[in-house]
Subunit: 435 residues, 2 copies
C-alpha cells in the first residue's frame, strides 16, 4: 500500500510500515507526568481515529520540555503517518508545542497578523487589553495550515518531511477546545490520509450475564465474518459486546451493522440493556415515558443511589416520583410504616421486609412501579449475613411484588453499584415484556 499525503508533501509518497495508515497521540504537559491528571484526550482521540480507519500505535506523554518534546516528535514521525499533538499551545513560557514542531521541521516561526488581531479582539470583547505574552500564540511554524481558535489558542497542521512525510496536527489540550477543532478541521485531515473508509463500533451493553457466557453466545455468530471485529469489555456492572464494522461512510457502517446488532440482541434474550451511547438508566427512563408510567424507590443499602442514577437522566422528572431512603432500621418504620414485628422476625435484609418496602413506597407515592433494595455492603455484617448479601424487589403496576436474593461479589462500592444495576435492570426487563 502506498499512501499519498496532503499538498505540502510535494509529490512525496510514504511507504507505511503499518497497514492501515497509523497514527500516534502526543500529549504535552508536566501535569500528566506528575500524575495530577489522567490523559483522557488520548482515549477520545483514539476512538475518533479508529472510526476513520486509522490505527493508533502509540500514546506518548511528555513534560513541558523543549528537548524532550522535539525528541518525541522525531521518534513518532519516523514511525507513523499522523501525529496528533494535544497541549502546549497556551501563552505561558511552558507552552512549547509551536517551537517544538518548528524545530522538528527545521523551519522558523512566523507571526500571523490576522491571528494577533483575532486574539486582541477576544480580549477587547472582555474589556481587557491583550497581555504581551499572548502574542506568542500568533506565532506558527512556517508552512503550517492554521486552524482559527475556538478558545484562545490557534491550532495548526503541518507536514514533517524527514525521515518520511508525517502530518502533525497540533491542538490545545483543553478537552472542549480539542473536540471542537477536531470536528471542524481534523476529520478532514484524517480523511486525507485514510480515505473515506470509516469504521464504526457498535456497543451492546449486556447486564445480568457473565463474560464467558456472553462470549459463548456471540462468538459463533461473528466468528466467520471478515467484515466484523468482535471484542468484549468487562465493566463493573455490565459486559460490553463491541462489534466493529467498516464501510464507505458512517451511515453505511451503521446500516451494515444493524442486522447483526439485532441478531446478537435477540440471541442474548433480553440481556442487552442498551445500545451504543445509551445507558441502562436512559433506556429505563425512555421505556417508562413511552409507557406513560412512573417509578418510586425505597432504598436501604444504596441509600438513594438508584433514584439518583435515574435522576441523572435529563427528562427523568416525567417518570421518577421519588421515594424513601430507609437506611437505619428505624427509618423503615418511621418513613414507610414497615411493622416493627416484621423487622424483628426477619431482619432488615430479608425478602419479606424488602417486599414490604416496595409495596408501601408504591402505595405511598402512587407510582406505577416501585423498586426496593436491602443488603450488606460491608465491611461490617448485618444479622450475621455474609457481606454481599442483597435483596431487591419490584412492585408491578398490578400490585404483584417479585423478590430476588443473591450474594453479590466485590468491595463496598461494587456491591452497591451492582445491586443498583440489578434492580434497575429488573425493571427494564419487565417494561420490555409489557411493550
Amino acid at each position: 500500500m502506498v499512501v499519498t499525503l496532503g499538498p505540502a508533501t510535494d509529490g512525496l509518497v510514504l511507504e507505511p510500515t503499518h497497514t492501515p495508515p497509523c497514527a500516534a497521540v502526543l500529549s504535552v504537559g508536566s501535569e500528566l507526568l506528575l500524575g495530577d491528571l489522567t490523559d483522557t484526550n488520548a482515549t477520545w482521540i483514539s476512538q475518533r481515529l479508529k472510526e476513520q480507519g486509522v490505527a493508533v500505535v502509540h500514546h506518548l506523554a511528555v513534560r513541558d520540555d523543549l528537548d524532550e518534546l522535539v525528541a518525541a516528535l522525531r521518534w513518532l514521525a519516523a514511525r507513523v503517518h499522523l501525529v496528533i499533538v494535544g497541549g502546549g499551545l497556551g501563552p505561558t513560557v511552558d507552552d512549547l508545542t509551536r517551537e517544538a514542531v518548528a524545530a522538528a521541521a527545521d523551519v522558523a516561526l512566523d507571526e500571523h497578523p490576522e491571528l494577533v488581531e483575532r486574539i486582541a479582539a477576544r480580549f477587547a470583547e472582555a474589556g481587557m487589553e491583550m497581555p504581551p505574552a499572548n502574542l506568542k500564540q500568533a506565532r506558527i511554524p512556517r508552512g503550517a495550515d492554521v486552524f482559527p481558535p475556538v478558545g484562545t489558542a490557534p491550532a495548526f497542521a503541518m507536514t514533517l518531511l524527514d525521515p518520511n512525510p508525517t502530518r502533525v496536527v497540533a491542538l490545545p489540550g483543553v478537552p472542549w477546545e480539542l473536540k471542537q477543532l477536531w470536528d471542524r478541521h481534523v476529520v478532514a485531515e484524517v480523511t486525507a490520509i485514510a480515505g473515506h473508509r470509516v469504521t464504526v463500533t457498535r456497543v451492546l451493553h449486556v447486564v445480568g450475564r457473565g463474560e464467558s457466557d456472553v462470549a459463548a453466545v456471540v462468538e459463533p455468530m461473528v466468528g466467520g465474518r471478515d467484515d466484523v471485529t468482535l471484542a468484549f469489555l468487562a465493566r463493573s456492572s455490565e459486559i460490553e459486546v463491541r462489534l466493529t464494522v467498516s464501510a464507505d461512510d458512517r451511515d453505511g457502517a451503521l446500516a451494515a451493522s444493524q442486522p447483526l446488532v439485532e441478531e446478537v440482541s435477540a440471541a442474548l434474550e433480553g440481556a442487552v440493556a442498551a445500545v451504543d451511547d445509551e445507558s441502562l438508566e436512559q433506556a429505563v427512563i425512555r421505556q417508562l415515558i413511552a409507557a406513560g408510567q412512573t417509578i418510586a424507590t425505597a432504598e436501604s443499602a444504596t441509600a438513594g443511589g438508584i433514584a439518583a442514577r435515574l435522576a441523572s437522566v435529563a427528562g427523568a422528572s416525567a417518570a421518577l416520583v421519588g421515594g424513601a431512603v430507609v437506611y437505619a432500621i428505624d427509618a423503615k418504620h418511621d418513613l414507610l410504616d414497615v411493622p416493627h414485628e416484621l423487622l424483628a422476625a426477619h431482619g432488615s435484609v430479608s425478602g419479606p421486609v424488602t417486599e414490604e418496602l416496595a409495596r408501601r413506597v408504591k402505595q405511598r407515592t402512587g407510582a406505577d412501579w416501585a423498586i426496593a433494595v436491602t443488603g450488606v455492603a460491608g465491611p461490617g455484617t448485618v444479622d450475621d449475613l455474609p457481606v454481599g448479601t442483597c435483596v431487591w424487589a419490584l412492585a408491578h403496576p398490578d400490585g404483584e411484588v417479585e423478590v430476588h436474593t443473591r450474594r453479590i461479589p466485590g468491595d463496598r462500592a461494587q456491591v452497591l453499584g451492582r445491586l443498583g444495576t440489578a434492580a434497575i435492570d429488573l425493571l427494564r426487563r419487565r417494561l420490555a415484556m409489557t411493550d
Copy 2:
C-alpha cells in the same frame, strides 16, 4: 550526579541525562490504543514515583505487538534510568512483555520450575488443571529478578545494559495486582535508584472558594520556601491545594509538612474540607460519629444522591438515618406532608419549601441534623427559574433551619454534584463549629 544501579550492572555507572533520576511508564495493551480503556495506571505510577523523588519524563502506550514493544523499550532505555512496564504478562498469545524484554536485553527466556509449580498449585486450589498456555507465564528473561505473583502473573525486574544501564520492572496491567506488587517489591527497586530521599504531597481539599481566591491566600504563605512546591488543581466541586515536600523518609516529610498544612488550613478559614486521602463525605461521617449525632436528607434535585454519597463511606450506618427522595412535586406532600398551599404559594424550588422539607424530615426520622435540597438541574426549567437555581437547607439539632440559595453553574451532572457538595459542606462547617 552519578547513580549506581543494582547488582546486575556489574559496576557500571550511569551518567544520567536528567537530574533527579528519571523514569518512564510503558503501558502495554491494544485496548489502550483502541480507546477502549484510559491509562489510569500511568497516573498512579507517576504519583508513586514522584513520592520517591523520581521524575517521570514519558508515558508511552503500545499495542500487543512484539516489534513495537521492543522498539519502545529501546527508545525509553536510552532516555531514562527506570522503565515501569504495565501489562502483557498474561497467558495468551497477545501477552508479549516477557519476549520483548528478553529481546531488548538480548537474552533467552528461562522456564522457572518453582513458578510452574506455583501456577499449577493455584489452578489445583480452584479444582482445575493448569492449561498448557499458562506455562508461558513461568518463562522469565535470563538474569531477571522474579517477583512471585499476587494474582496469576509472575512479574520481574532486570537491568538492560545497552546503551546505558536501565532498570526495567515488568508488572501485570491489572490495577490491584500492580499496586500490591508495587508495595512488596517496586518501592525497594525505586529506592535503589533514587536513594532514600522521599517526596510527599499533602493535599488540602478546599470547598466553597474559587481557585484564584485560594491562590491569593496560599501563594504568599509558600512563596519564599525552597523546600515546598505548591500546585493548585481545580476539580468539579473543589480546589485541591497540593503541597509537596521532601525529606529522608515518609515520616520526616509528613512531619515537616504538618505545620504548613495547619497554617494554610487556618488561613483558609474553615474552607479545607479534608486533608490527603480523606473525602468530604468521610470527614462529615467522622465528625458525626465523633459527636454521636445523626443525619437525614430530603432531596428533590439530587434525588437521593446526597444520602448515597454519605452511604458510600464505610461505617456510615452509625450516622446516616435515611430520608426522603421528594423528586416530583406531589412526593413532597405524599412523603413528607409539605402542605399543598406552601408548594402552590412558593413553588417547589424555593426557600420556604426547602426549609419545610428539612424541618419535616428531621422530625419524621428523629435525626439530629437534616439536609434538604431543591433545584433546577436543567436542561428544562421549573417555574421559569433559570437553570442552575439551587436551594439547600440545614436543620440544626436545636430545630433552627438555615437556608441558602445560589445559581450554580455547569451542566446537569455538575449542578447536581456541586449542589450536593454545597449541602454536605454546610453540615461539615457547622459540625466543626460545635466541636
